[in-house]
């Protein structure tokens, strides 16, 4: 797959071939990451300040994306919303993938009843539709931000577990694993030094996909009014707040959705265009 003559400086540096779509997708993701980090410094108006005398105002030179249902600047609110959408999703996906991958590798290496019990249990959790799971748990524990992060990570742990376990089971049958076992290495060493390096590429690609699922679920919950609560607002909550402007074709009802789409489509395109060497490392 790697063709050194047709690749640019980036591939010379990294030894991987990136294409234009992948690079531009990465650019958009980094842009949103930057926005999330520096939002308070770059927003043109305060998020709570009413700057327009009209509500659901149109796009203008001062208000780039128009104004919301109270006449606040929707551009600033989207920039600040990036912090909640990206922050909560990133925290949840990190917890879900860390625990899922750690459990998956342990199950693959340990085997036996630990493996079968855990697999049975997590498969059962996996067969609850994610949105429904979110609804029920949020109804139970409330929608504070830590509760949201915990709920989202619990929902996506079984998937990460299944994926990592399937990869780790393959690595587990390799000769070097047998050697390491004979050497008398213990479980933590086997997992961290023998299995993990061999499944890292696909696991990271899976993390990206799961991040998209989490962003979509979080936005969906916020859209239903069960996610991030006022006065804070993530992108899903912004759509909910301004859905009343839809019949007038207000830009405030559309732009938050576009923000979500730009992020999730970019992550999906980046993963789709990752060099095969990273994505399918275990397949080699």
């Amino acid at each position: 797959m790697t063709n050194p003559t047709s690749s640019g400086w980036l591939s010379m540096r990294l030894g991987y071939r990136f294409n234009l779509v992948g690079v531009s997708a990465l650019g958009i993701i980094l842009l949103w990451a930057g926005v999330a980090l520096f939002a308070p410094q770059i927003i043109p108006h305060s998020v709570g300040e009413i700057v327009d005398t009209d509500y659901f105002g149109p796009v203008s030179r001062d208000l780039w994306f128009g104004s919301d249902y109270l006449g606040r600047d929707i551009f600033s609110r989207i920039l600040m919303g990036a912090r909640y959408t990206l922050g909560i999703s990133l925290a949840a996906v990190s917890i879900a993938c860390f625990s899922g991958v750690a459990l998956g590798m342990t199950a693959a290496v340990a085997g036996g009843w630990f493996d079968s019990m855990l697999s049975r249990f997590l498969d059962a959790l996996n067969s609850i539709p994610s949105k429904l799971f979110g609804l029920v748990v949020v109804a139970a524990v409330g929608s504070s931000i830590p509760a949201l992060i915990a709920t989202l990570s619990v929902i996506y742990t079984p998937g990460a577990y299944r994926f990592a376990r399937a990869l780790a089971v393959n690595v587990n049958t390799m000769d070097f694993m047998v050697v390491a076992r004979i050497r008398g290495e213990r479980l933590p060493y086997l997992i961290a030094s023998e299995i993990l390096p061999n499944i890292l590429g696909p696991v990271l690609a899976d993390l990206g996909l799961r991040f998209v699922f989490i962003v979509l679920l979080l936005s969906g919950l916020s859209f239903l009014g069960l996610g991030v609560q006022p006065p804070y607002a993530d992108w899903g909550a912004l759509v909910r707040e301004n859905i009343g402007g839809l019949p007038f074709g207000a830009p405030a009802a559309i732009f938050p959705s576009l923000a979500i789409a730009s992020l999730t489509i970019s992550v999906n395109l980046l993963i789709d265009n990752l060099p095969r060497r990273i994505r399918d490392r275990s397949a080699e």
Partner: protein, 316 residues
Amino acid sequence: MRGQVSSLVVRRLLIALITLVIVSFAVFFATTLLPGDTATILLGQSATPEAVEGLRKAMHLDDPAIIRFLRWVAGLFQGDFGKSYANNVPVATLISGRFVNTLKLAGLTAAIAVPLALTLGITAAMWRGTLYDRIVTVGTIGIISVPEFMIATLAVLLFAVYLKWLPALSLTNEVKSLHDLVRIYAMPVMTLTFGVSAQMIRMTRAAVVETLNTPYVEMALLKGASRPRLVLRHALPNALGPIVNAIALSLSYLLGGVIIVETIFNYPGVAKLMVDAVSTRDLPLIQTCAMIFCLGYLALITAADIIAVVSNPRLR
């Protein structure tokens, strides 16, 4: 070898049953975690402690959780879903009409999405690598990466706001003619169809492409068979199992989709009922709706697994 298939199917059904038990356990305990005492919620803040105590006794709220769980499951089997806290109506009466509405929505979506997705998925695989294939592939990635409410809002914006062809809200009690039916169902069905088909197209295309990579298809190519003949006669019969599996899996996506779609279009279905129940903290209603959804989801993914087993000729 026949015995092998049936034992695998029985095994899968058993697993589904165990899963159902774990799921109902999870649903029950998640809902009993709800903060606040049910008796106090029902009687209001001004209730006397004696009244609260009496109601707790009458509702068996002081029993251990496991007893309440067993009683709840026993009730489910007898068709007794309990009474709604919010308006003291049996849950079964609240749900029955709504359930039919949701089934109608899901059935219509499936009737449109399945033929559409199969056509697009198979043709995309047939002309793999062409511009048409790239458009279909990028289009489906785009659709599965955006939230359902975005598809719904864009549909409202286009058809209700700019073109003014359709109403923005669904109200099924106004159906008088076929014209009304189309006007009311068009947008919810369209939104759901987009999501379901995108999943199905991706999986169908992958299944057909995989069979196209087999030696016997290469053989057919070498003997000079045309592309459509290659796909339809040689590849498709062997890809049928994975395709039906893909259909069942994608239809399970409907269950998540209806929650958003029924809310945004104000459609009187089970999902809308459940979202409302969550905001009013109506426990028995949440539990029953959640069980309906889990049961539907589990049935679909189990069906998908069983089809994959039965259609695998190596096991027959």
